[in-house]
Amino acid sequence: MTTAPAYAVSFRFRDGAQRSIVTDGSIPLLDAALAQGVPLLYQCRSGSCCTCTAHLVAGDAEMASDAGTALLKSEREKGFRLLCRSRPRSACAFDLAYDSSIAAGAARKARVFVNALDHLAPDVMRVRLELAEDDWIDFRAGQFIQVRVPGTDAVRSYSMSSTPSELPNLDLLVRLIPGGVMSEYLRSRARVDDVLQIEGPFGAFFHRDQIKAPHVMIAGGTGLAPVLSMIDALRRKPGRKPRVLLSFGCASCESLFCVDELELRRLWLPTLATRVSVDRGAEADGIRIGNPVTAIAAADVEDPETVAYLCGPPAMIEAGRTRLMALGVSADRIFAEQFVPTS
């Protein structure tokens, strides 16, 4: 008879709080930890959303090799693991990028009314929602909700571009994909006053408290949504505002959106600078050709305290992380959320 191994696994939160569990490695670490009362953030439990990302700082833990996960190879090499997919191979220790109090904001279900559907670009729609009477959710700027496509079992995740101060109103920026289930609903069937089922909030991508440090935000396409929410939330916080550089990129001038919204933010927030890039097309007034990552120069991240938020397709995140770290931004001050279309 083989005795089951007993691995001591400790989790250290950003506020210094520490929790430890003992597990035999037969179930993923996320499940073991939650069962033993550790307040971890999670959402999809299937390796796609990266909410349960943790940094392995001691010992050995591996993710199930048969499951493709959304974690980038470069991230895995730096020691990041998705806890919903990881099992310990020895006693180990993880660092988490959020405070122990964060997971207290548990996700809830709610119903919302559609207030408006606006085409901002050929493939981007802004969906304005309002919580129904007696329903409520709360969130931190940068988090997302899951929305059920009416008449189906399919759920899709979207980040709020609005801030918690605007509740019960919630705005989403949705990328319309040919043949996508939610895209088809929005393009053909959706009407004002439709009722949708949502659940949330989810996500470890939200604005941290380093209010004074210079901020660099890189957004690709509808990745602008959580970043815009963070900029608006930052604007409302009391005290001196930090310098914020927003680098926003879209595929082409035709697919650009929210240009007016960015102009308003520049007006309202004197410390905000924006750079808009498009992958292809003719150079236009104030719009550079290129991608939003290359728009960042060394001078933009001179301050060693610089904090960065990235949201967009995986390739952009990968390139962004690499470039920022090469320019001297500390790895633990880079926060990222990947936007991946669900097939």
């Binding site: 409302r236 009391p238 005290g239 007016d260 007006l267 309202w268 927030l269 004197p270």
Partner: protein
């Protein structure tokens, strides 16, 4: 449908009571000052005048309300302290029945919760000195700056950090002669400032019944000269006011956006950038000749007006429109003159009492009070902010709305759990029945 069954579109126009496309404040412009539209309860995290120095004697305690926040002030050994006037226990106003057992504290008269004047911390509870709440909580403190006869308070959000509190000078109008080059004034001498050595501030403050923004915009609205045409001083001094003043260029107003200084705008009055209107042919109105008084207006955050060279040379008039709630404000009219000797002070005081108060502070400005009230109904429920139809001369308030939207340090949240947050409470009704209108000061308990 006409006779042959074809369907036709409605004809546009025809009705006059529609919003005109020609109004200056279209949707796009309004978005630029949306933060201002949201600021019904005021801009917070700014310096505001609280009291004249003489309104707070040594060891006295007074209670006021600014931006929906109740504030208690106490002067002890000459120094003024300001704390949130709301006991953390059950919300009682400390100022309504002052109780101070030591020089460094103030005690709530109901259950004895005692706060340190400097830190706001709960240091003891009179009847419960071992309670575990002591030392772990307290009330917000507000930095104070007293000068030239006025007490200013930095009204801030509870979590606004001490290290971000700016100097008072950042919330006061621009100074001279430092700005002589930027804002030359060939027609009058250097304008004095509250910050000048020897500056003396004489004035008054009273509560007005409108939103603070309506009051503020009236101060520098060049098109409202008509309202003042019957004022006594105009006729006694034989001034001839024009019918109005029109901007002649796009740079009739210059923004003030000093990095370590005030934020607002300056209007180039009495230059060729503004032209007096002396005639209206359609109505048969004509102003003959012009014996005017030269002056210039500017406004900076949080909403302080400076009228240079008014009402005389070497004197400046400041006005504040301090939000109390969303429908009341405290209107300050302050004249400042540099007086180097006691004789000069006495002469200024005499002239202030005998000339400036009856002819200027009342005689010229009283009509502004009713003018502001006249707009309040339109704006109170938000209608006015959306539906107003502004014209070219409104470049002044529009510019103010944009620059204040950009540079304000915070938008005050609607008052909750404070006096006059609810407009229909029984205490408010009782006070009205007693003839006391909603005001700025706490109602002290007479026992």
């Amino acid at each position: 449908m006409d006779g042959n069954g074809a369907v036709r579109r409605r004809k546009a126009g025809g009705k006059l009571n529609r919003i005109s496309d020609q109004r200056v404040n279209d949707q796009k412009l309004q978005s630029q000052y949306q933060p201002y539209k949201d600021a019904a309860w005021g801009f917070i995290n700014h310096w505001y005048p609280a009291l004249f120095s003489e309104e707070l004697a040594e060891d006295a305690v007074q209670g006021i309300q600014i931006c929906g926040i109740p504030i208690v002030l106490r002067r002890i050994d000459g120094k003024v302290f300001a704390l949130k006037d709301q006991c953390i226990h059950r919300g009682v106003r400390l100022s309504s029945k002052p109780m101070c057992f030591s020089k460094s504290s103030i005690t709530c008269w109901y259950h004895g919760f005692t706060y340190d004047l400097g830190s706001g911390r709960l240091t003891t509870i009179v009847a419960n000195p071992d309670d575990k709440l002591i030392g772990t909580a307290g009330v917000t403190t507000y930095p104070v700056h007293e000068l030239s006869g006025m007490i200013f308070v930095f009204v801030r959000e509870d979590d606004f950090p001490d290290e971000d509190v700016p100097p008072l000078a950042h919330d006061l109008p621009v100074r001279f002669p430092q700005n002589n080059e930027r804002f030359p004034h060939p027609l009058w001498p250097d304008t004095p400032s509250l910050l000048d050595e020897g500056a003396v501030a004489l004035g008054m403050h009273r509560t007005g019944e409108s939103n603070w923004r309506i009051a503020c915009e009236n101060g520098f609205d060049n098109a409202h000269i008509l309202v003042h045409k019957d004022n006594t001083i105009v006729h006694a001094m034989e001034w001839t006011l024009p019918l109005g003043i029109l901007p002649t260029t796009d740079d009739c107003i210059t923004l003030i956006e000093d990095e370590d200084g005030p934020k607002g705008l300056m209007q180039w009055l009495f230059t060729d950038r503004w032209a007096p209107v002396l005639e209206n042919k359609e109505l048969g109105l004509k102003v003959e000749g012009l014996k005017g008084r030269f002056y210039r207006t500017s406004v900076v955050l949080p909403g302080v007006l400076m009228v240079e060279n008014w009402p005389e040379e070497h004197i400046v008039q400041y006005e504040w429109y301090v939000p109390i709630t969303d429908d009341t404000y405290e209107y300050w009219e302050v004249l400042v003159k540099v007086c180097k000797t006691p004789e000069e002070r006495a002469k200024f005081k005499y002239r202030f009492d005998r000339v400036f108060v009856p002819l200027c502070l009342h005689g010229f400005n009283d009509c502004d009070l009713y003018a502001r009230e006249a707009m309040e109904d339109f704006y109170a429920d938000g209608t006015g902010w959306d539906d107003e139809q502004l014209v070219a001369t409104d470049i002044s308030p529009i510019t103010w709305r944009k620059v204040s939207s950009r540079w304000n340090r915070g938008i005050a949240k609607p008052g909750r759990g404070v006096e006059n947050a609810s407009k229909t409470g029984s205490i408010r009704m009782r006070r009205l029945a007693e003839g006391k209108k909603p005001g700025y000061f706490v109602e002290k308990i007479n026992d």
